[in-house]
Amino acid sequence: MKIGKKNIHKLNDYLWEIPASFRPQYMHVPARILASEILLDEIMEDRSLIQLVNVASLPGIKGASMVMPDVHEGYGFPIGGVAATAYPDGAISPGGIGYDINCGVRLMLSPLQRFEVTDRLEELSKEMYAQIPSGMGKGGNLVLSDRQMREVLKEGAAWAVAQGYGQKEDLAFMESHGKLDMADPRLVSERAKKRGKDQLGTIGSGNHFVEVDYVDEIFDTAIANAFGLEKGQVVILIHTGSRGLGHQVATDNIKTLMAAMEKYGIKIPDRELACVPFNSEEGQNYFKAMCAAANYAWCNREVISWEARQAWKNVFGTRGGNLKLMYDVAHNIAKLENHTLNGESAMMIVHRKGATRAFGPGFSELPEAYREAGQPVIIPGSMGTCSYVLAGTAKSMEITFGSCCHGAGRRLSRTAAKKQVNAPVLKEELRSRGIYVEAGSFKGIAEEAPVAYKDVNEVVETVHASGIAKKVAKLRPMAVVKG
């Protein structure tokens, strides 16, 4: 099946639609693409749109299956996909969340300016690399007992705070305050727990990283002030998820749900979209295990923040001040949320796979200081380019179920990136531009080279122009730590 421009209707400059009539035998709703025309042409080059069309077949899907402008081909769902299904009997699909449950990003603010850290960057990046365990399948410094594991899965980031690995003030500045109440540790397999036992406080590998950035440009002064951002300020960006524990929860449940589909008479065009009714026994078991894995991920990012704070203190001492959490957002998750569709408000199960929640001003979960501004949305770019802080808007609630993009989006396969990029040369080139890279391997640097990604500026301009999020600040990297 090939999807061409002739199959895509333009709704406006940034919204495109493949009508349900394209595959009436299984599409329950249209498929929508939020993208500029330039990005749409790029998106059509891989299989993202076929996967988007398949998502429109999920039982109980509401409105439209959607992709954000950073979309790229995944497996089952495209990466950058959003699907809302009816509560309580619409589909829950682990494929719509991904193997890395609650992969997400957080941004921490320092009181120091760029000029105050420039001559200590090499030392800082080495100290960060030493303090924050990274790399393929690597364990960390904490080994959880069975009781501690249950507490982490139940309490999320609050566990780290209670144990002295976090700051109490951080909790208000996390999506869902770093904890999903429906988590049930008993539904996480022993194997998953075993895989997660020694991985708390580790970033892993692939596109996960810890980055030292500075605020290069402010676009919206009022919102930047509310978020505590100022020009020249040094900030720390952390990107990772639930590690092996989350991967195992997904693996265990996709298998279970696939076997259960027949019982519920569900037929889907791709097995990786395996799903069951949310309110079925299998659906509830998966959702509660997913919530537990999401809590593990929030706890993981909180412990990594503690490690980053240690590294920061070791380098700058008391003059470095405290690293304050600006916000922490998930981009691989399913949440129960209220949304209004065709004038009617209803609870929905919102799947975001490579997409960020972007709720607008007035959202009661937000800390008071952010309530008028809207929810912070953090968009990491590729290694040598820039990242963005955005703010969610009321319009995102109207057209994307309160969702936004999650990054630049890959455009080159890892193999192609490795063929095109000479990693030692790239490392030196980045160094000459003032960016220190501490990585476990040159292979990891090549795979994550800027050339492997879309232009993050074009992606962010698209979401800004479409009105689903507002540009607040642009960040530029100074040091990158990765596995």
Binding site: E73, G98, G137, G206, T251, K255
Partner: protein, 137 residues
């Protein structure tokens, strides 16, 4: 060549072939092990790690994906990569095998999951079993 790595924007797409289902499963095992640690099976003289596997699945495609998922999980929990299969019994819905591998202290690539996406075990025009497998990286 029974193992071929094909382009995929973000993940790894692998095509495997085998004259029998057992050869196909072995190609899947070796292909996955090579992703985790390049050439580990070729360069290891002796396989001291052992794991018993017993699985059931609705069809041969699910059986293959579930087999690789099971091996991957054991690889992470036991910190080992598996390269050989013995005492193999495979039917349309069941698999039993003893795996042999080697302990490892680091990986070249971390596989998050073995997906069912695009997987379809079938006989091709040369009467060979084949399928695609997409790994989430």
């Amino acid at each position: 060549m029974n193992i071929e790595y094909l382009p995929h924007t973000a993940d790894i797409r692998m095509k495997i072939k085998g004259e029998t289902p057992m050869q196909l499963f072995l190609a899947g095992l070796l292909g996955m092990s090579h992703i985790l640690k390049e050439n580990v099976c070729r360069e290891t003289p002796e396989f001291r790690k052992k794991a018993e596997i017993k699985l059931s699945a609705p069809d041969l495609t699910c059986l293959l994906i579930d087999f690789l998922s099971e091996v991957l999980s054991i690889s992470y929990t036991e910190k080992a990569i598996f390269c050989r299969m013995e005492d193999v019994v495979i039917s349309e819905n069941n698999l039993a095998a003893t795996l042999f591998g080697t302990g490892i202290s680091s990986l070249d690539e971390e596989i998050k999951g073995v997906t069912y996406h695009e997987a379809e075990v079938r006989k091709n025009s040369s009467n060979c079993w084949e399928t695609l497998i997409v790994f989430d990286i």
